[in-house]
Amino acid sequence: MRKKIAAALLAAATVFTMAGCSDDTPTPSGSDTTTKGQDITFWLVGGDTPDSAREYLIAEYNKRTGGTLTIVEQTWGSIITNLTTNMPDANNTPDVTEIGNTQSPTFTNVGAFLDISDMYQELGGSKLLKSFVDVGMVDGKNYTLPYYFGSRYMFYRKDVWEAAGYTEMPKTLADFNAAVVDITTKNPLGITDFSGMFLGGQDWRNGVSWVFANGGELAKLENGQWKMTLSDPNTIKGLQQLQDIQLHASMAPTTAKDQSPWLYINDSDSAVEDDESVTTTALSAATIMAPGWAHWSIGDLVNDERAWNEDKFGTYVLPGNDGKPAPVFAGGSNIGISATSKKVEGAKELLRIIFSADYQQILGQNGLGPANSDYVSALGDDQFAKALIESASNSKLTPAAVGWAGLENSQKLEEFFSKIADGGDVTALAAEYDAILTPLLNQQ
């Protein structure tokens, strides 16, 4: 114990002196020019990257450089905090990090990432998913590049749609909008709180698809300043369609976000019961919109695991007004090298590995959209891969404005969309939130 106290006191004293004299960002020391034996740290966010891919990266990095690659898994809930604290700190910064694509503009604009324009061609150039490359650019320079993409499409209950008289899925957006309202009114299975299309009131990530599908935008860059465009006629049109669905086809709580909508499309009581107690089904939605990997969570319960049942479930890509896939909000993330990294050469080598044919294919085989369009075929050709590729073909990202991450965190978008869902006056709300949000967009 004595030792421990001594250690604590010593530590305390150290903190005191250190805190007293040094302050702010340490300047990065000159980077090594050789990759030999550089040990680097790579932050991945969430569990999307499968273990096999991680193992490949570690082994391949060691093979190429002799150094050790340490992968640290961060969570989406704390990534902003940790990037904010660690990236300016040369001693504790990750050398390479994944970052949400909507968060990327904020960090690239304050100089958190290293300029990797010189590697752009080498890593894939114009083959890389453009919308993701764009959110990683500032003044024509590349700071972050796409890591993988996901997309959003529909999952629907074939049995429910058929019971309501729909044997074929609608071909245009207008037909779809009308169909989900119709199914809700018919409620063929007589379910309590039934939704033809389950869409959370605060769920702007899925809801914005109707805006994009009608040619609307959330914001535009005008003379170097970002401006919200919620009052744009096309945006208004999309918001009105969305409101109609919210009011007449969705029983989702107005507070629901895009978290786990698949809970409402599964039969949760389908497991066979010994006793003959009346088990009412938990099924409460005919259609949901979710990221592609949600299909792992959809299906019948077999041995406590979800198993996709082709007779019951289907996938469907939201059509636009012209019948082609509607532009939806892309999922996925970007990747970049920290500006304070002391091991730039090693970090660059890691990027080369990540953008190599082998790794891109590993991503694809695991259902993650590869950044390089040459390897998209690795996703396979089952219905999920097809729906993913098709819906992604036209997908969009949020504006690359410096204040976007702050705007997202202010929760004003959730507020705006939930007011629309509550049946508020769309035009008036759009004008109100244009005024509220525009300053946040440009706030650094």
Partner: protein, 312 residues
Amino acid sequence: MSVVTTIDAETGVTAREVNPRKRKIAPYLLIAPAIVMLVVAMGYPLGWQIYTSVHHYGLAQQFGKAAEFVGVDNFTTLFSSSTTWMVVIRSLVFCLVNAGLTLLIGLGAALLMKAVHKAVRLTIQIAMLLAWATPVTAAVTIWIWLFDWHHGVINWVLSHFWPSMVHFNWLGTPLGFYSVATLIVVWMSVPFVAFSIYAGLTQVPDEVMEAAQIDGATAWQRLTKITLPLIRPVLMIVALLQLIWDLRVFTQTRMLQDYQDPLNVDLLGTYIYRMGIGQSDFSMASAFSIFVLLLTIAVSWFYVRELIKEDN
């Protein structure tokens, strides 16, 4: 090492033959470790907070851009925003309701513990210990599960009496959100209050109560005229702590908001967190923190004043 210090200190205090000079230095030596610890851990963060509250300090500054001195601008912006005042008012109401409920229930539970048979008292005590010992992260998770709109047991029970409650989304409206938050906070805080007050009650001499009974005092009179005044010191401290803790409640509401957020339900702590970590507006977060400190002092002024008086 520590023990030696303690004993030296003790001798310094108690032995009569200690010389006056040593007596003068002794208290400073005794408080030194605590002070060093506080300065070490709080000094720099506190300085940083004051610094950022009068500068423009956002994400760009965090990444090395020079911070511009703006005087009281941050405070002016903060207090000209109606959101800020709404947060302050909501937090004060939340704090008073929670502290009030906690004290009332805690007092009730303590009186009950005093009045019942030993076995029943032990049952109450164990139940309260369980609630007290449950870590806050676990506690919030349990309550979210109990109140889950789709599968939660509370809606299941309520729907038998009121069918419309079958899928009621508790966390969907501010009122429902605060009700759940209040339940969690009260559930977690009552045990400490109940144990402290019960401890105080056991010190009230039985003879006094018996005498009052013989004099014909009713139970209510005995409670208000004898018991409560006698345990006033405990009540004061417990009330003060509840006010401070409930005003700065953070973990519970943040975890609830992470799960489901009816929007605009920020209290002081989550508001600071949103401005700072969320929106990278560290100046605003710091300025508001300083204001919250002053607000807390104001709320607990009744005690602070007494503390100052008592020392004179």
